[in-house]
Symmetry: C2
Subunit: 445 residues, 2 copies
Amino acid sequence: MAASTLANWAVDLKYSNLSSSALRAAVRSFYNWTGCAIGGSNHEAVAITRDSLSPFFGKPTSSLYGQATKTDAQHAALINGIASHVHDYDDTHLDTIIHPTGPVASALLAYAESKGVVSGEDFILALTAGIEAECKIGLSVWPEHYDVGWHITSTTGSIGAAVAVGKLMGLNADAMQNAIGVAATQVTGLREMFGSHTKALHAGRAAQNGLLAALLAEKGFTSSEGSLDGKRGWVNVVSTQSKIDEVFGTLGKTWEIEKNAFKPFPCGIVIHPIIDGCIQLREELLADGKEPKDIKSVELQVNRLVLELTGKKKPKDGLEGKFSVYHGAAIGLVLGKASPAEYQDSVVQDQKIIEVRDRVRATVQGDIPPESCVITITMNDGTTLEKRISNAVGSTEKPMTDEQLIDKFLDQTSSVVGKEAAQKLSGSCLALERSADISASMTIR
Amino acid sequence: MAASTLANWAVDLKYSNLSSSALRAAVRSFYNWTGCAIGGSNHEAVAITRDSLSPFFGKPTSSLYGQATKTDAQHAALINGIASHVHDYDDTHLDTIIHPTGPVASALLAYAESKGVVSGEDFILALTAGIEAECKIGLSVWPEHYDVGWHITSTTGSIGAAVAVGKLMGLNADAMQNAIGVAATQVTGLREMFGSHTKALHAGRAAQNGLLAALLAEKGFTSSEGSLDGKRGWVNVVSTQSKIDEVFGTLGKTWEIEKNAFKPFPCGIVIHPIIDGCIQLREELLADGKEPKDIKSVELQVNRLVLELTGKKKPKDGLEGKFSVYHGAAIGLVLGKASPAEYQDSVVQDQKIIEVRDRVRATVQGDIPPESCVITITMNDGTTLEKRISNAVGSTEKPMTDEQLIDKFLDQTSSVVGKEAAQKLSGSCLALERSADISASMTIR
């Protein structure tokens, strides 16, 4: 059955099996995750979680990013997981819009630090196994599972986290299968929560669910052989259109992690083409001696997902701004950038932004894929400008370069841990493959 | 929206609003839960969980039943929750087959002990609010939600646990609504896991999910207003046939806790009529001078759920025995009882039991309700005996008496904590309404 197929594949996977591009993708994924976990660590959703749960903290073995402290691995997995997703600035497996590294790395790093000495190679191997598991399961039920209302990042993420931690534990195939089952039964994440703190909780809780699953399975806790594809197993309960056999046939043949993309903008991936296009249009306007305030109207032609996910016309604060393609277009046109600073409450509530935002209209065009858009601007003087985006920066076709990733990392982390520590961590993290001890590499001193 | 309706109802509920029969049912429910949590505490699923997670235990505030120790409230909720459900000996809200007290009481007691002085009245009020929330939500999606493969005890239990803990915290309606949302998004429990340790984990994890939700909401963590009935809210994602508005209209008018039934036998409720009938038939056989070994065949006419849930023909061990109507019939006929002792591996593997078990055939009769059955025995001498059961012992129509509940409690707990402590705890627990401090009453010294 499918859980056994996945368990055997993960148990047998060796470092030497990883393609060089999978390896590079794993390091970049973990690097981007680290920046996001630190960058998100002072968000109020993270602060509330920390305050709420600190009375329950156990033995401090694992880094709590953004705090000069450690906590037990279960709480570290939860809280770092929330931090890594809370700015919607993490990575995206574009075929499923899973944000894969959050659940997996949050669990894996927390566990690795609690375990003792773990090499960079072992860590990368486990991370890759987990991300492959997560994305393959996601592909098995995409898109119907997401359409019905599940937050696919966390519903698959718990399974990915269990596989990653189980791999680092050295579980045998039976125990790995049990870990997969315990993770699968904890189906966390309703899309209804988008726009609230709970969206980020999904990534953290998925990490914790997967960690719990591996910890229990390691000591002999049992689940079902049919946990994934039995009559009442995961794919058949959370979806009605499973392709799991076909997709699992590609395990180790096509690497999902190679398709992982990194976000240049801290918001839903579906807005990225619009932001990218609007930033470019602003540059053209300015070059032409025109000003964004003289825009009369903005017409967006977009894929249906854009309005489904980010259709908020009048966002009230920074969080809602992330779910507003209108805000995304406005900051692109008025400010020419979209970093976490442009998603602060004050910017979303700025009259200058609101005026342009209110002139934006978006319509769904059936034949436009999610990675594309057409933007048409009409100025008060009657002139028009059009921009067609086929693939935004950060897409598979136009990936962020290492330099762009490093800029993003340092921008996120310097203000939290200081410039020197940020530089040092950046270096350790990029040299992950050669690390003799992940805990030593990743601890911020 | 529905989450707001539920939150307002729970926040406004007063002790004086509880009907006297709801109050009595709450005390009996908690009493039965306590016996089950202690009785299940030395099951291997509980031992594995304790061993796996003890490295993460935080400040010991809350009883870990069956252990002369305490742990932090989150782990106590998880582990006591598993223990209370692991023998399938807990309670049943018969209209939904939810086992309601496990998730709710496990979270609530653990939290109450960590909080400080909590009166019995406040505890009962919170417990009842939680169980009402859980069962009303269950009724909203029954039976389709269960049929598709969700373990309704835990999928609704996390919400019940959040409401109970939130009530004891004194959350206002906004925070209570957020707690409901955080609990709702953690949809734990696939029926595929039945027959493994993970089934019991569902009850414990639901308790922990609900506790987490209330703790976060207390400090201002946000979820969505549509968490229950929004387009992608709970009822619309985990079911396609919601009756939530209609059912929530009965909050505080009909008390679900009054319909809570207690199990005389430690196995799925759907086998109870068969066990009850077989025990009665054995008595008739013996009175007639006949012996169970001379049974030639046993024909069971049952509801479809019996075979769906408990159709294992050749159970290999005690756990599988619980999912075998054939084993249930055999122990009733051969041993005349069904306590945890009759579900030990040695009994399931006993040749004397297997011989009778193999002579049992079960067929589904469309018009037989789940609480009924018809049993026909044919003896080697050609004589036949028939027994029709309309309502088994432990059903709403034929509830366990207080004396039967006390016998069950002492049977479960005496071997774990000793006879004297069991008697003492039994007395404190039955006097719950008059307790000035729940922690003092419930701690086993």
